[in-house]
């Protein structure tokens, strides 16, 4: 490193980011550093590990009997997904994500050009962004909200996910290969949430797409199943 901190070790931003105490501009600044400074990113990872050790001190409590059966029932899809008034039908169209990627540039509105990035530093958005997710079966578009602070995409509404499958979220930036994000889970009734991998940065103008994949997500890192919805992410 060419720069020395003014006072030795005065920098606790990595710890603050890992602890989750930052918000707003401070958090954005720390996230930018995480992208720009590999040492800083490594420190953040180390701090996360340190803090996770606090969980080691939590007393064990026997889990309620029967809970494992419930988990297994959910895995087997025995607990039916909530009835949908207008469920998306994943089998409708097996749209190709590659085609989506190619049209991404054409779809991008003029007012949200993605500037050429001089360094992987810029483009950290902390304000929420939304996408109108057009379903492949032509049912009404549903909103997807990207909460950059929480690193997750939320979709209120209903999603018909076939038993034994996962709905996986993808981000397609320009002509790049689709970036696999998390699989959706129903965080609360009628609210589906997919988490982006730690450190993932999603910029406005990115296409979000959802495909049906084996449980846990695509085993190949590229989409393998039908695309059930897609939409362009814009600032609110």
């Amino acid at each position: 490193m060419t720069t020395e901190p003014e006072t030795s070790g005065a920098d606790v931003a990595a710890a603050e980011l890992a602890l989750g105490v930052l918000d707003g501009e401070e958090r954005a600044g720390a996230l930018r550093r995480m992208l720009a400074e590999p040492d800083f990113a490594r420190d953040v990872g180390r701090w996360r590990e340190h803090f996770a050790m606090m969980l080691d001190g939590v007393a064990e409590v026997a889990a309620p009997s029967g809970l494992f059966d419930k988990v297994e029932a959910r895995i087997d899809g025995k607990i039916a997904p909530r009835r949908a008034a207008n469920p998306w039908k994943p089998t409708a169209i097996a749209a190709s994500l590659a085609a989506l990627a190619m049209t991404a540039v054409a779809l991008r509105p003029v007012e949200t050009p993605v500037a050429p990035q001089p360094a992987p530093v810029a483009q950290v958005e902390t304000a929420p962004m939304i996408a109108a997710m057009a379903a492949a079966d032509k049912s009404d578009p549903q909103p997807a909200i990207y909460d950059a602070d929480a690193g997750m995409v939320k979709m209120p509404g209903l999603m018909a996910i076939p038993a034994g499958k996962s709905a996986q979220l993808w981000a397609i930036e320009g002509s790049k290969a689709p970036l696999p994000l998390g699989t959706f889970r129903e965080a609360s009734p009628g609210m589906y949430v997919a988490e982006a991998k730690l450190g993932t940065v999603i910029a406005p103008g990115t296409i979000l797409a959802i495909s049906i994949e084996p449980i846990g997500g695509s085993p190949t890192g590229a989409p393998t199943g039908p695309v059930i919805a897609s939409g362009l992410l814009s600032k609110v």
Binding site: G9, A10, V12, A15, E16, L19, G20, V21, L22, D23, R48, E49, H50, F51, A52, M53, M54, L55, D56, G57, V58, A59, E60, V61, A62, A63, P64, L67, F68, K70, V71, E72, R74, I75, S166, T183, R185, A187, S188, M191, V193, I215, G216, G217, P219
Partner: protein, 193 residues
């Protein structure tokens, strides 16, 4: 230390058993998943209960946690992460998701996470996580009560500086300086060999 730590081979064996169960779960092995649940559910339920502060919610969150584990176990990298930390972090994150969404629902009141600092792990608790955890607790013990309390509340409650300051009714700058000083001391302590 009243009770000595278990011998290293016991720690290694427990960790190996966990890693094996987790890796096999990643290959959709139900028996391994059941074993993993047996080995870890009390630990993870304790975490959910501690963070949610509500038994019913903790049960729902625990069920979500194991569903997530089933789906994501394939992403666990044995060489990079401690299995129990990996699992405990999923439990903590899910429980904090619940707290945040509950906080937005006015009808639901959630208990404040107690600032109790005395979750000193027993030797048995350290069985799997090992010495690294002992080190962190040792360093946390060296902080002022205020610093340690704020750091623990941030971690267990998923609270930001602004939320911590509001909760404790102190100016934001005061809260920041408590936590920053605490983190600085923690950093110095963890760095010492």
């Amino acid at each position: 230390m009243t009770s000595p730590l278990p011998p290293q081979p016991a720690i290694d064996a427990a960790r190996t058993a966990l890693v094996e169960a987790l890796v096999a779960t990643g290959a959709e092995d139900r028996a391994a998943f059941a074993k993993l649940y047996k080995l870890t559910s009390a630990k993870l339920f304790g975490i959910c209960l501690r963070i949610c502060g509500d038994r019913g919610a903790a049960e729902d969150v625990l069920s979500d946690v194991y569903l997530t584990v089933w789906r994501r176990a394939g992403a666990f990298e044995p060489g990079r992460a401690s299995p129990i930390s990996w699992l405990a972090t999923i439990a903590r994150n899910r429980a904090i998701d619940w707290r945040r969404s509950a906080a937005r629902r006015p009808s639901v009141t959630i208990d404040l996470v107690p600032d109790v600092a005395d979750d000193t792990p027993s030797a048995e608790d350290r069985l799997v996580a090992g010495e690294a955890a002992g080190r962190l607790h040792l360093c946390l013990d060296q902080l002022d009560d205020r610093q340690r309390g704020a750091i623990r509340s941030a971690f267990f409650g998923g609270l930001t500086y602004a939320e911590l300051a509001e909760r404790d009714a102190v100016p934001l700058g005061t809260m920041k300086s408590w936590v920053r000083r605490g983190l600085q001391r923690l950093k110095d302590c963890l760095r010492d060999d």
